[in-house]
Amino acid sequence: MGSNPKPNITLYRGWDESGRYVWSPFVTKVEFRLRTSEAPYTCAVGSTRSGPKGKIPYVELMTPNNPTECLADSSLIIKDFSDRGLITDVNARLSPAERGQDLAVRALMEDKLCFCHTYERWIKHYYIMRDHALWSIPYPMRVVIGVLAYRGNVRKLHDQGTGRFTDAEIRGLIKEVWEGVNGMLEESRRRGKQGECFWVLGGDEPTEADATVFGFVVSVLVCDAGPESRELIKKEFPVVVEYAELIHKRWFPDYEMWA
């Protein structure tokens, strides 16, 4: 492994926003893992149409004298990078119980909260989301593609189940998720030192769950299409915001911070 030259990593983030966080939690999740492992990478725009799985983010690995490799899906990218030794396997030192808890937190955010966010952004604040997500598509076409995306999301949310809840019920679900995460972070903050980063599982180092939680917190704080969620965590869960601020100061000082 050590004799192989390290590939150049290009991360496609979907938006032309250098020096800023993007709205996708999954992009920030990958960036968090790369930065906390001190793995150098270059940001590029890309789009869902040019990505291998029709998803953002995706990465390109360029090694001299080898064909370029393309990987998609944040979890698969992290797993692959971890297997190749490009980033630290942060969960290797965890006990089975901690590993289980780490997985549960990730499932909570990626499998449950994600759909609630889709509802909030694509259904409740459709026009803001459409213009931001489909920024690369010129205006008349954007209206047509936007309507198709809207219909697709309504159908997907209805089939998945989130779309069958009322607005108030979905807000309740979102609050429940953040209450759980906030509780874990509060506990960890109490045990840590003042002004230093604290982590979801309460250890000294971040785990995979931190990458996901940080990705989702930042996504909520920077996304204009989810004002209710932003209001919620800013007003009711200051520890969650503090958690993200401390990580931002340590690992993302070159990025513009949320307002």
Binding site: P96, R99, A107, D111, K112, Q160, E179, G180
Partner: protein, 306 residues
Amino acid sequence: MTSENTNSDDTPQNPRRPQAQLSRSIFAVPAPIKQLFDKFPLLTYPTNELPQRAPRNRNAHVLYVFATQGEALEGAPSYNPACLKWQAYLKFSNIDFRIACSNNHASPSGSLPFLLPSSPESSKQIQPVPSGKLQRWSMNNSPSAIEEPGDLRYEAYLSLLDHRIRRAWLYSIYLSHNSTSIAEPLYILPASSNPFVRLAIAHELHRAAEKELLKFSAVINAEVLYAQAEEAFAALGAVLGEDRWFFGASKPCLFDASVFAYTHLLMDDNLGNGWVDTRLRDAMLSRQNLVDHRNQILSTYFPRTT
């Protein structure tokens, strides 16, 4: 039009105008006809008896689930995880109920289970309780309501069940080789005796499972789904540890019912015509404490099945 109408103002202070307008409207019923119709009904008959096939015994709550007739009579665990979860939860809550076999078309919400509460008056219309409201209903109606543990990790672990394990279950039952040995005898053959209808149902079930899985991933990869479920079972096994119930609770709660709904069915050798693709089942069986947890619930709350 009268001069009164044309000359008067339209303000509400003039009460004479609407009355005059009403009495002269072409839609107004003439007084003699109105008096005649006011005499009806001349006689009100007593309420008809319910048809022979209507349930007579309304003094017990009935939970409608996927089950065979024989299983329903015995109160055996349902073969559907969503139904079994609520069946177990109602038992944990000490609610006296019986189960009846049904299908999604019979449910007011479009999916099973739903509960028809007991009613002392058989003629009185009773609102069914869909699964989404069963927890609240049982808290209000149970002699010993269950408090869910206030553990911060509760929601997180619940999403492992609701997503990762559920996705692997859907693949295993509807898309793997188990579709002919389990899904077909349980969901397709009882629905109709017509081969074309059966074919259509089989196709629909297959498509629905595929669609559900494609919401989470662009491709359906069995290895990934089973690996994720295995990780999830490991996480559940780790959080249960040596405890009797999840999150150190003193009695089983909804989370225990949700886990049991999958673990019991995975451990059931005779589910449908038996397991052909055993990967998900093997992943679960390797967690001894989950096996013990299932056995404990089965022997305590479903003694007839053991």
